[in-house]
Subunit: 453 residues, 2 copies
């Protein structure tokens, strides 16, 4: 392992060459790769390959079965050394509402030490930072201590509809000694964050139709009402305290280990922020801060995302609606499987007399987690300590979804490390940006991870 003073030389190189990072990210962020619009997909893949070639990787472009290509860029230093896969994506979120942007989202601009453009935080900035880290190590030490495999896909923001077939066709590309999945960043206090996986999700629409057309509501005494059916069906799914009543739903749901609890205690979790930011009437999940954080992390959920039936405009319209529907998402913890929950949901509804409630799956992500004590987990923690000078906040998994499972499913330990963003980066929102100082430290942290692995 490189001596601490040599690692410092690597970090210094990164600082000295930060303008190169900035120029390359600006060019990369100009490519308007909006995933939802399938925009600039080829151009995005080519720009990714070109970028990684420039940083010394051997890049190639692999076709998916119907989606945009995956870019693979590798530095095969030595087959006897471990391999780290670095998962990122070249697509970005849509830019609407466009009028809330203070600048053109695809014309990057530096202002007050921040770089504004769609995708700089999620996740193009991270790809460039990881490439810069790799180049810094090679420039200072002559070679990389590990094999790196950049894996950059083009449909992450639309839930990677072609990634499973790609993973099944190319399992070796997902096998590595460790994988990093995109990246996070630092919180508002500057503390770096690590997540050892992410929750999964099953998103369904429940549909009830009792007629071809709406009827006058005076017929309600003898005609079925789909909204009542939907309400009754929903009410069987969950009790008032949020416990999910689908038999078997909680099978394999983990409870926090002592080690995980010790990390959770260090999280700067501020429940009162939910009141400030969202104006929520209450924050549930237990009396203490830790209890709420454990609930947030370990409780799978059944959430109503949307409800619709009949007349929803202003004032009065007296109808018995023809159909009703609910959008429902289940956030799943490691141990649960979306397909299994879907099946249990269907069985539960049928068993409760709701075979008239159609269950339409609209999307799914598998949950995945790697132990904090794993080599990648501990390496990321030490890298953060070295670069940020403090302990990182380590979550057993993210509340949202990620592509982590595509790697863990073939046995690759995976984690979501620090990165170039911060809690105020406005991910997915107008005026997405990164702070240049965060990017500089993020690149150093990636170099540290590679050097300490």
């Amino acid at each position: 392992m490189l001596a601490p003073e040599d690692r410092e030389r690597v970090y210094a190189w990164i600082d000295e060459h930060f303008q190169e990072f900035l120029d390359d990210l600006v060019a990369y962020a100009r490519v308007p790769t909006i995933g939802a619009e399938h925009r600039a997909e080829r151009e995005g893949a080519e720009a990714t390959a070109r970028l990684l070639e420039k940083y010394g990787m051997a890049a190639r472009t692999l076709e998916t079965d119907g989606g945009p290509p995956v870019v693979l860029a590798e530095s095969r230093a030595d087959p006897s050394r471990p391999t780290i896969a670095l998962y990122n994506h070249y697509d970005v979120q849509p830019v609407d509402p466009l009028d809330e942007w203070q600048h053109d989202p695809f014309d990057p601009i530096v202002q007050d030490g921040k770089l504004f453009a769609r995708g700089v935080a999620d996740i193009k900035g991270n790809t460039v930072a990881q490439a810069l880290a790799a180049k810094a190590i090679r420039e200072i030490t002559g070679s990389l201590p590990v094999n790196l495999r950049f894996f950059v896909e083009g449909e992450e923001e639309i839930a990677s509809p072609h990634l499973l077939s790609f993973a099944e066709a190319h399992p070796d590309l997902f096998r590595a000694d460790a994988a990093t999945i995109e990246a996070g960043g630092v919180d508002f206090d500057g503390t770096p964050q690590i997540s050892m996986g992410s929750k999964g999700i099953l998103y369904v629409e429940l549909r009830v139709r009792t007629a071809d057309v709406d009827q006058h509501s005076s017929y309600a005494a003898i005609l079925p009402n789909p909204a009542w059916r939907l309400v009754a069906a929903l009410q069987t799914l969950r009790n008032r305290r949020g416990k999910i009543l689908i038999p078997g739903f909680y099978e394999n749901v983990p409870t926090p280990s002592e080690e995980e609890l010790s990390y959770l205690r260090k999280i700067s979790f501020k429940p009162q922020e939910f009141r400030k930011v969202y104006g929520v009437t209450e924050v549930l999940g237990g009396r203490t801060r830790l209890a709420k954080l454990v609930s947030l992390t370990y409780n799978p959920t059944c959430n109503i995302d949307g409800l619709y039936a009949g007349y929803v405009g202003e004032g009065v319209k007296t109808i018995n609606p023809a159909h009703a529907r609910a959008k429902v998402d289940f956030r799943l913890v490691p141990g649960q499987r979306p397909a299994d929950v879907l099946e249990k949901l269907k069985v539960h509804l049928a068993a409760n007399g709701f075979s008239d409630v159609e269950v339409v799956p609209l999307g799914a992500f598998e949950p995945a987690a790697t132990p904090i004590g794993s080599h990648i987990g501990q390496t990321l923690i030490r890298a953060c300590q070295e670069v940020y000078g403090c302990d990182p906040q380590v979550m057993p998994w993210l509340g949202g979804s990620s592509s982590t499972w595509y790697f863990t499913r073939v046995g690759t330990p995976a984690a979501i490390g620090p990165g170039v963003g911060y809690a105020g980066s406005k991910y997915h929102a107008p005026n997405e940006h990164i702070r240049l100082e965060d990017a500089r430290r993020g690149a150093r942290a990636w170099a540290a991870m590679i050097l300490l692995f």
Copy 2:
């Protein structure tokens, strides 16, 4: 009472002067008195007064407290004789969707024995038919056997928001020996229909707000969800068989008398029509035709007219919504009161822990009914038998709402008699029309009612 052969002379006079009816109705229907748009209100009131003056009534226009005027037109033949109030309205429904009309809705046209225009069936045609009937009697017999009081308001189609204050300011105008409330018509088989009142309605919106803005659904484990609250609150209102669970809701709800049942048995009620017309999956309310009809008539309802929360577009959006709402209507039978049900609903929700569910009343009509055996009921039945040559179908009350209660509340027996429309008149819809033969018979039936009272 006039001898049968003299009554025939009255009916013959109506037939001979039918063109006068048609010309006057065409002129009246040209006035675009769309209630919801407060359009042509003064013009409509003046046209009504002018029309009734032309038919021999003494008309005057009375101001309401903030709404359009009420037109009163009376023929005070003899104070010792009974008085019949004839309630109608000069406003009409909106005309959208305009592109579904085959002709300009305010440029009446006769085609294939039908008169097409907005308002000819609901209810301007009836006002002119009643005026024609009165004139026919006077022309043939020299005087009217009763005092008639035409009462024509201008806001019926928007639920008469100023009628209660008007009724409280002018109670004598609602007192009479009988009142007819607008009119119905004949069914598809040509059988005339009489309703001895109408159900009432309470229309509310239930609102739950748990935050200022939507939140990412990964927070659902610890943040409240307004859709779940709404579903749970709704579920307490009604069991799966439609029984309403609000304590005291069924107080004073009547069951059908033997006399009412004997009339209900004669109704040409065809439950299978609901399947044909609306494509409903089932028709509830009991196994037999009569059981279904009794359910339809005597069961008050709690109906969900609309449901809304969060994301209701295509596909997936993962949010915990900030607010949710339901539109709910209660159809009430005579004996129930909207204000009482509203109060019981609020008490019930609070008692079940749902004080966070806001109850916003959006509209109400009082139920009202007069016994079939009443003088006005029996007179209408005999009038139908004489003019249509068959027994009318007599319902204890309509499933929809009407202004009947404004008369019954001061002790005036009231009924909804036959009229100029038929089951295919497209009330409230594009291409509203009446069949000229129905109008001719409707006018005769009104003459018969006056003569037989």
